[in-house]
Symmetry: C2
Subunit: 141 residues, 2 copies
DNA sequence: GCCAAATGTAACTGTTATGATTACATTTAC
DNA sequence: GTAAATGTAATCATAACAGTTACATTTGGC
């Protein structure tokens, strides 16, 4: 699993948590514990998808645009890491005579495509607001 | 996803396909399109799990032991690649003050553990015999 | 007993992927 | 005009991965 998915989710939860709903790449980087360049690359994806607005220049940064109750982890996964469940390595070779060696590639691909769909449905169960609520609940204990 | 999973599945399907149910690491490697050393490492796992027997020396190799109708891809996954769905990278830091940065690690871990369980259930739907049947069906068309 | 064939396993190499860092052009608020 | 922020390319270090070589060990057949 790509770490960009984690960065995107963390960023959105953090923006939803801030009253201003705005943070610079530097602030995000220090909260996520990575470097600002990675943040900017990931936030670019979220901008293209319309999840955040960008304000350049002094006092600028990234502003949460979407409704955190409607942004699912599945949609973020599809933006940042789609297909990462499927390994690129394949055994066998379609041109071989053996029915096992020639067909296992497509059989496994089919199985993994099903797993990928199921994985996305699993992630679709969670929204950014769900995660934030859970963290605020835990805080009270 | 670890390629050892693919190697293990391919090996077992191939052994189930052979009338003798036996093959050397060299034969398996040529059918799977990898090298014998990797085969032997993976087959060692299957031996420990009781899925294959090993015969050393001249004319030896690996012999399918379990019933291909009862060996699920899930059980193979648990042997070879358990936990590979979860990324090791974690954003944030449990020691930080921010409720997001300090808690996102465990929240994401929980979500991925659920996904891992679901993934295993998905793989448990398929047996080695299922895959072999499908390949023999396709062959006829 | 000897030899050939096979597994078990460690070590090394090359390639790729990943994340961090640096640098700099561009944009924008004041 | 300057400072602050993003956009993006380039580079570096590290780790992961697969392939390869080598060799000890085991075993079957003569």
């Amino acid at each position: 699993m790509n770490s960009e998915f984690h960065i995107a989710v963390h960023s959105l939860v953090f923006l939803a948590y801030l009253p201003s709903r705005m943070a610079s790449s530097e602030l995000l980087a220090s909260n996520i514990c990575t470097n600002p360049v990675r943040i900017r690359k990931v936030m670019n994806l979220l901008k293209t998808a319309g999840l955040v607005d960008v304000q350049k220049g002094t006092g600028g940064g990234y502003i949460l645009r979407g409704n955190p109750r409607q942004i699912t982890l599945g949609s973020i996964y599809r933006l940042t890491s789609a297909g990462s469940l499927v390994s690129d390595w394949r055994s066998g070779d379609p041109t071989m005579d053996c029915i096992v060696a020639s067909q296992i590639g497509q059989v496994m691909s089919h199985i993994f495509e099903g797993a990928e769909e199921q994985f996305e449905r699993h992630l679709d169960q969670y929204t950014i607001q769900d995660l934030l609520n859970q963290m605020q609940m835990n805080k009270r204990n």
